[in-house]
Amino acid sequence: MADPGFSSTKRDPIKSSVGNAAGIRRREHAVTVGKERRESLVRAKRLCRVGISDVEVDVESDMMIDEEQSILESQTSLAVQNLKSALAYQGKGAMQKRVGALQKLRRLLSRSEFPPVESALKAGAVAILAQCLSFGSPDEQLLEAAWCLTNIAAGNPEETKALLPALPLLIAHLGEKSSSPVAEQCAWALGNVAGDDEELRNVLLIQGALIPLARMMLPYRRSTVRTAAWALSNLIKGPNPKAANELICVDGVLDAIVRHLTKADDESATEVAWVVVYLSALSNIATSMLVKSDVLQLLVNRLATSNSLQLMIPVLRSLGNLIAGDSHATYTVLSPGLAVTDNAIQVMIKCLKSEQRVLKKEAAWVLSNIAAGSVEHKQLIYSSEAVPLLLHLLSAAPFDIRKEVAYILGNLCVAPTKGDEKSSLILEHLVSLVEKGCLPGFIDLVRSADIEAARLGLQFIELVLRGMPNGKGPKLVEQEDGIEAMERFQFHENEDLRTMANSLVDKYFGEDYGLDEL
């Protein structure tokens, strides 16, 4: 019912259209303030409650689960004291005594979801455990000490920092001379250290943890690969890309990634995929190397064959990063006409249909980046069964998914730009999507509290206003209350949005609009 009337003060012309913003591939922001979403699925820090070697069955563990925390704490202090005296003891059976004391402490630290880390630290556990890691110590002792440290490192950030003195030794035991259970336990401890603090990651990197961890990933030994990959994914997660750049250049790493993604079980593949996530998110070198290998194909296959949410999340994310990060991915590897491209679109559709919100969202993001490719890519998506699905999601999905879906649909309607040229419309797509009712979804985005979504909505409105044949655009926009939605920006503090909305209203609903139609 709005009569836009007539406005005499003209404003800046519209500078941006979807072609300039939505038409480009979008990478994930390197900085995040939200919760790390992977955490809810795979924790950044992991407690080690059952031994790696799977040899030992902890008979006592079940009996003590209900113990009072205070008892546990005092027992822990005592255990550290005992360890100290065991270490001081030089007589007969010293070795057994030490291992026994270590086991005692380790059991206490493995018993509950909330290990008594604070008591252990107060009692001076780190120094004594570091001593236990000295070169030449028997494997059993090394293993127990590293295990204790693993669980101490799983504490809060301050507690993790207490491990600093032990780090050089933990790293030293990652080497090829160590037995694999020892190396793996040390990797686990270091993975915890790298879990949530950039400063500690830097310390580990300076002390040379990267290369030995990377080498542990090379042979195919399930649990070693899994642990090493997990620790590496923590170690390289930045935001500084240096570690990721270094990792991909380590001899054999790329091959190992390809091999594991091809053959490994879901669980190991999950950890490897997380490594790929961070490599592709942070390092351009890595992205380009991964794209040139078979990784895209493998990721697509994994998505097609697996139904494990844990695996699908990092795989989708990697795929998205690679496509967003390197034009080669879209233009050469996923070029239209190849089977892999069809498969990729099919797996995205599979994820869009999934019940899992996170898969839907990630898949929509990936698809929006493919939709930012060539006209042929757009046609491929446009003619797939994705479109009805997307139109439905645009009107009914939760906000974050709607926004990603809007990027896809917007991208489908503009041809790619070359150099400075202004993007042009793909009229067929625009007309048909608008006819199928996508405009209200975009106008809803204009009304949303999210300014990027609002920008996207405005850009799409601009396409409709400019592009719909026979000047139908303005009337469609008016009918869906688009003028009112745009007028919300009349005095908005974001200058870009304000200018865009105001100039659209002026240009298409200015004096001539009132005169011509009414």
């Binding site: 019912m1 009569d3 003060t9 900085v31 004096e511 009414l518």
Partner: protein, 972 residues
């Protein structure tokens, strides 16, 4: 400027004098201050004055200094021109926080704003100490429960965090946000919870503490909520997710608890608590929109809390802001994935009765606005600027629920409408607002059909509603009784105009004319608007539904009432009435005598607005009315031209001589219209205007240029002989030369040139041609924009079809030997495909065809490559759709913009120029092209097909063949 007793005295005196009621000392003080503000350390000195103890400097002086300090910072903190230097900045940053916190409230608010200005530029990267300082002060103030300080700090934090609400998400912004989150979220939650517990214990105290004790606590919570909004705006931060429970349980408390001692203490007390509640509603609305997954667990409780709250708030006449934000939250829920909350039995009727209807009902504020500020009322009621009114938001909620529960909403709403109408029927005097409410619901919940002005509703049957509800109002004999109901009825008529059949509408047209005399500004504006819109209704096929015959019976009364409406108080410049006049003049059959009356009426309005142009919309329609009257009446009766001239010339002269610049573009357009309506020879008075037209001063304002070009074209066409005399043509071409030098006006320059070429005999132009080419080549050297290239091709084509190819080639080559072939190969051939517009396409096609079929230069076998490429380009131009061959250069309008209201060019729709077709004899350019080509080929069989195969792209060869088949010709 050094801080010493002299400076202190000087500044203190100055600020004292700035408060003086006497203008002389005040001005002197202001100019001394503005001079001193150029000295280094001026800002610092003023800040030190603000910091002086209260007993030594009067608070008024310090306050005025604080204002000055803030403004100084706004201008100079990071300006190009004489900015504050780094050492001074450092000192200011060190001083300002503690100073602000200890200042009395009026000074505190100024310093807080000043701090926010610094923050906008420097925070956080160049001011790393600010946030830690705020945090530690907050903790100190919190420990001593010093809420003046607490709120000062929170206020500052609120303003420096605001940017997170409107800037785009970039890595830089996220880094800043992360920094703020890392430092501020924990202390924020801490103070929020502490204040909450203070409020709780105060609420539990008997007798309750005085309102004054509670007030700062609520103020503080409100600030915390606003900060919450800013920090959560971009995405949900980890800290807030981890502590959602703490925040949400307090939020809920404020929605469900009442605080009688504060709320009952007066309107300010209630307003403050409501502000907190509104801020809470905005926060939960944000979560609902963006983080509904994480928020889900709290949703049920909040939905219940909000709608319980709303049932109370809806009964109250004030509390608008809270009602609006709370309804918005429910609307968000209703359209979200959790809309099932509304599916429960009885919820929708309850919302409709308890929330929607009470908010849609007229309240005292609406009545007051209707009477006191009709412009604002109409803007909200009719033009959709009512986004933030309770009425509109309540309807939005209903529409929101209808997205998933359409049938339920329809049933309940139509039942409500019926019950409102029967309540009115039972006692019309007492219950007239119920009828208004019913009409409002029908109109607001109607939907518009794409591409038409067709509005429909499924709540009532439009025809019978019109007859039973609207007609009684329209037929009411007292045009001044129940004006709001009249306005509602007129609005309904306007909205559903397409659906009211013609004979029914005509039946009530006299009533509409009658309502033009209503005292209420809203009512006569709506009546004018309704007539105007009715006259614009188009039936299938775009034909206007109402003709001159339909309005003939009431025409005299209509015009009379329209012009009289301007005499009603506050409607002197009523834009709706003016627009209606324009529309009526566009439909009616205006006879000689009526035309005289109308032009006098419009003329005197024109004289009036010239004195002080205020309402641009009114003025625009006034000029449109004049233009359409002049145009239609003169076309019907050419003798009227002189009548119009007599009436208009003195008035237009006043505009020009009194420099009423905002009307210049209109004036030139009207003059152009008058020139065109004249039969040559045009009256001598026009040649005086022509002299004004040639003066360079007129062209300086970019807003005048399009109108002046239009006028110049009119002169060139209607008075070619006069223009050929003296040095007038030299001056005209001088204007052309100036215009093409700026890329914003180059097209306009070519319009002038094209008109010269079209209108004047070749002999007259000959002496100037080499200069024209030289000017064009000079521009080509400077820039080769699509616009310039297109203009060039159109000009050459026009030249060629008017005066022949040999004149084109010879005059070009006379400027520089052989330049024609350069222009041909570098500009003409490659850019031909850029041409848009039917006339332009025909013109350039014909010119290009003639060139390749007639000129020896191209027919020379040595030029066969160029010949072939030209064929290729012509085929591209003719065979591809415009959008496939033209790259849009961008949406840059032709005229330089951003010069404010006074200097914009506004096109007069009704004074528009009819496009002249320079080649009226050629109907179909495609046919012309292939026919000419085929003839040429027939003269030398076998020669051209080869050239075509070698030089024309394969796709275009196909297209050419198709064209030949279409027109049944062959290329041999």
């Amino acid at each position: 400027m050094e801080w010493n007793p002299q400076t202190r005295q000087f500044l203190s005196d100055c600020f004292l004098h700035t408060l003086s009621p006497a203008p002389e000392p005040r001005r002197r003080a202001e100019s001394s201050l503005s001079e001193a503000s150029n000295l280094p350390n001026f800002g610092l000195a003023v800040l030190r004055l603000v910091a002086e103890p209260p007993n030594s400097i009067d608070e008024q002086i310090r306050q005025s200094a604080a204002v000055n300090f803030k403004n100084h910072l706004r201008l100079r903190w990071s300006s190009e021109d004489n900015p504050i230097l780094e050492p001074e900045k450092q000192q200011i940053k060190t001083l300002i926080v503690p100073l602000m916190l200890s200042a009395p409230s009026k000074i505190q608010s100024q310093l807080s704003e000043a701090l926010a200005i610094i923050g906008n530029h420097d925070f956080p990267k160049s001011w790393p100490t600010l946030l830690p300082e705020l945090v530690s002060s907050l903790q100190e103030a919190s420990q001593s429960s010093d809420y003046v300080k607490v709120n000062g700090i929170l206020g500052t934090a609120n303003s420096i965090f605001r940017k997170f609400r409107f800037q785009y998400k970039t890595n830089d912004l996220l880094l800043d946000l992360k920094y703020c989150l890392d430092n501020f979220t924990a202390p924020l939650l801490e103070i929020f919870l502490k204040t909450a517990s203070l409020i709780d214990s105060a609420a539990a105290t008997v007798p309750p503490p005085p309102a004054a004790n509670l007030q700062p606590l609520f103020e503080s919570q409100k600030l915390c909520c606003r900060i919450f909004y800013s920090l959560n705006f971009q995405e949900l931060p980890e800290f807030f997710e981890d502590h959602m429970k703490e925040w949400m349980s307090e939020f809920r408390k404020y929605l469900t608890t009442s605080y009688p001692s504060l709320e009952g203490s007066g309107p300010d007390g209630l307003a403050l608590v409501d502000e907190l509640r509104s801020a809470v509603c905005e926060n939960i609305n944000l979560y609902m929109e963006k983080n509904e997954e994480e928020f889900q667990g709290y949703l049920n409780d909040f939905a219940l809390a909000v709608w319980t709250l709303l049932v109370n708030v809806s009964q109250s006449t004030s509390r608008d802001q809270l009602a609006i934000t709370a309804i918005k939250f429910l609307t968000t829920v209703s359209t979200s994935v959790h809309h099932a909350l509304f599916a429960a039995d009885g919820v929708i009727p309850q919302i409709c009765q308890g929330i929607v209807i009470p908010n849609v009902r007229l309240r005292d504020d609406d009545e007051e606005l209707f009477e006191m500020n009709h412009i604002e009322y109409i803007r909200r009621d009719m033009e959709g600027s009512d986004l933030d009114t309770r009425r509109r938001i309540a309807c939005e909620l209903l529409k929101g629920i209808a997205t998933h529960y359409g049938d339920a909403v329809r049933n309940i709403a139509s039942a409500q409408i019926q019950s409102l109408l029967s309540s009115f029927a039972s006692n019309p005097t007492a219950n007239w607002k119920d009828k208004d409410c019913a009409i409002y619901l029908v109109v607001s919940l109607s939907t518009k059909k794409a591409g038409t002005s067709y509005v429909s509703t499924d709540l009532v049957d439009v025809q019978s509603f019109f007859q039973s509800v609207i007609v009684p109002e329209l037929q009411s004999s007292d045009v001044n009784g129940y004006p709001m109901l009249k306005a509602g009825a007129l609005k309904f008529f306007t909205m559903f105009r397409s659906q009211i059949s013609k004979h029914v509408a005509l039946q009530f047209l006299p009533d509409l004319v009658r309502f033009l005399t209503a005292e209420s500004n809203v009512v006569h504006s709506y009546a004018a608007s309704c007539i105007e819109k009715l006259l614009s209704v188009k039936d299938e096929g775009g034909r206007l539904r109402y003709s001159s015959a339909d309005i003939a019976p009431i025409f005299a009364m209509l015009m009379n009432n329209l012009f009289n409406a301007f005499k009603l108080p506050e409607s002197e410049e009523n834009q709706y009435v003016m627009k209606c006049i324009m529309r009526v003049l566009g439909v009616a059959d205006v006879q000689l005598d009526v035309a005289r009356i109308c032009i006098e009426g419009l003329g005197s309005l024109l004289s009036e607005v010239c004195k002080n142009p205020k309402n641009p919309v009114f003025n625009h329609y006034l000029f449109e009315s004049v233009a359409i009257l002049v145009k239609r009446a003169s076309e019907r009766d050419p003798s009227l031209v002189s009548v119009f001239e007599t009436s208009l010339f003195p008035r237009l002269e006043i505009i020009l001589s009194n420099d009423v610049t905002e009307f210049f573009p209109y004036t030139f357009q009207l003059l152009a219209l008058l020139v065109e309506l004249n039969r040559p020879p045009i009256p001598p008075i026009y040649m005086q205007i022509f002299e004004i037209l040639l003066s360079p001063d007129s062209w300086k304002r970019t807003s005048n240029v399009p109108a002046l070009v239009r006028l110049l074209q009119a002169f060139l066409q209607k008075a070619p002989n006069e223009i050929s005399q003296g040095d007038r043509l030299t001056k005209v071409l001088g204007i052309f030369d100036t215009l093409i030098q700026s890329s914003s006006s180059s097209e306009q320059g070519f319009y002038v040139l094209n008109t010269v070429i079209e209108s004047l005999p070749y002999e007259v132009i000959t002496p100037y041609i080499s200069h024209i080419w030289a000017a064009i080549f000079r521009e080509l050297q400077k820039r080769r924009t699509v616009k310039l290239l297109k203009s060039l091709l159109i000009f050459i084509s026009l030249f060629l079809v008017k005066h022949g190819w040999s004149n084109v080639i010879d005059t070009m080559n006379a400027v520089q030997p052989n330049i024609f072939s350069v222009i041909l190969t570098q500009f003409w051939i490659p850019n031909l495909k850029l041409i848009t517009g039917d006339i332009e396409l025909k013109l350039t096609t014909v010119a290009s065809t003639r060139l390749i079929c007639e000129s020896p230069v191209l027919l020379d076998p040595a030029a066969s490559v160029s010949w072939g490429k030209m064929v290729d380009s012509i085929v591209t131009l003719l065979s591809r759709k415009e959008q496939d061959r033209v790259e849009d250069e961008g949406d840059m309008p032709d005229i330089a913009e951003n010069v404010g209201y006074t200097a914009t060019f506004v096109r007069l729709y009704n004074a528009g120029r009819n496009e002249e077709d320079p080649l009226p004899d050629i109907k179909d350019p495609r046919k012309y092209f292939v026919a000419s080509l085929s003839q040429l080929c027939a003269h030398s069989p076998g020669r051209f097909p080869n050239v075509i195969t070698e030089n024309v792209e394969t796709a275009n060869q196909e297209a050419l063949l198709q064209l030949c088949n279409t027109y049944n010709v062959a290329l041999v």
